[in-house]
Amino acid sequence: MNRVTALVADGSPLALEAGVFLLSLLALVIGTVRRGDPRRLIGGVVFVGLALLFGASFAIHPGEVLFDGVYRTDELALFAKRLFLGASALTVLASLALEPVTFSRRAAEYHFALLVSLLGMLVLASARELILLFVAFELMSIPLYFLTGFLKREPTAAEAALKFLLVGTLSSAIILYGISFVYGVTGSTDIASVAPALRLGQPLLGLGLALTLAGLGFKIAAVPFHMWVPDAYEAATTPFVAWLSVAPKAAGFVVIFRLYLEGVGPAALLWLPGIAALAALTIGAGNLMALPQRNIKRLFAYSGIAHIGYILMGVAAFSRGGTGMVLFYLVAYLFGNMGAFFVIQAVGAAERSDSIEVYRGLAQRSPVLGLSMLLFLLSLGGIPFLAGFWAKLYVFWAAVDKGMYWLAFLGALLTVLALYYYLLVARRMYIDPPQRPDPVRVPGTLKLAIGICVAGVVAMGAYPEPWVREALRIAGTLF
């Protein structure tokens, strides 16, 4: 323990990883030692720990290099780590509101897995070497399969988890296959060695990068690698889904930046049409498939897929602005999407259903909850003075700046489609009369989590300047 505190005090870059690891062990230990229902204790401890680590992350300075260049903390890594920590803390907070029936005596495993996955992400953000990158990537992924199947008594849980795992394993194989080519051509596992090799024009390297991109497409849920997403979202516990929809995807984008911006360098221009096409496909399919959904979690699954498309648009711009806007988008998406899932959690717990129908008259039953949901929906739909508006605009700008007018047009028009289904939910909440008069009971911790998300969405929307400046600054270090 002392060493860990020392690490944090010194601002050592590994302090966060060490802290998270210790927290995960602590969760397991408490779960085994404590009698009765340990979920509140574990959740509380983990939340406090994560919050502290989140704070501690601001004491860490970029630029540290460890293990012979394998691990390096730069601006992007730090940004990503804060994002992961923040998202995890929010999720743990919301998880405290999970019902004891599904949760008692399993809280230890739940939090352990969550933290291990977080650990993987934290390392992933800093990994500059393919072996570490792959190991961290898998460390992040395996707990996700577990958490997806967490409600193992539900008949759907194992199904979703198994699907997730099968697709995930296949993707791992593909990534690994791709990496093997990259390694084979460069003779090195350092990401930095990719660009020089590319200049030699090795066809195998292109093949390797394409394979890797396909694998990463699974992680970020780009179409057509997205099909596991709705099933996993529907079956898993909602706080975890909130987290799943944001954190691992952000991690996927970090890897994409690492490999295709830092690694590939200017040669990535060649890739842009492909990524742009992927973005277009993802936006289009995601939005279209979301239209007919009746289950709100599935709806958000598909809408999340569409959002990934928008973020990919920023990636496809391949510029300082584009990258910065992706980072901004990720944060905005974090608040909006997690917030929406927290509301879904609250309503789902009260109504025992995830059907959109149960949102009837929510605004009249619980005005604040309804308003929060509306804000999240509108933010995701890209409506002004909410975070998502700026986010979408910025990625469009990034695309237009690169002359990809068609992509911006497509994105902007499909946003309208997205608003259609968001408004359908809004319609249930605001226009339709309520079926029951009683308000939806929301536990305190969940209220806090929703409140934080609302604050984030509104703050980023009302005054985006600091966030934008920060995002651009971070993106600037990559170019």
């Binding site: 072996i131 792959f134 759907t156 199904e159 699907k163 099968l166 296949l170 529907e234």
Partner: protein, 99 residues
């Protein structure tokens, strides 16, 4: 034997694995097919490593083997769980979640 022979061999096995992945009805069978694909990757890595005269690829292989085994183990646990709750392990019978 040259490197390309190994690479071709690995590609063949990879594709056979992929074929198995998309055609097998039994989830265990799918898992096995994925294993084949991963195995092909290992061949690739080791071959590259050898032809570079380094150990990097072999180290990678080591990690890869461990990780895949862990994945398969988890997958099998899930299959057992699924079987317990749903009485089937056939992929096309587990479609409660769709659309």
């Amino acid at each position: 034997m040259g490197l390309s022979s190994y690479l071709t061999l690995a590609a063949i096995v990879f594709c056979i694995g992929l074929f198995g992945v998309v055609t097998r009805r039994n989830t265990v069978g799918i898992l096995l097919s994925v294993e084949l694909m991963l195995n092909a990757v290992n061949i690739n890595l080791v071959a590259f490593s050898r032809f570079h005269g380094q150990t990097l690829g072999m180290i990678f292989t080591l990690f890869a083997i461990c990780i895949t085994v862990a994945e398969v183990a988890l997958g099998l646990a899930l299959v057992i769980l699924l079987f317990r709750t749903r009485r089937t392990v056939l992929a096309d019978e587990i479609d409660l979640l769709k659309g």
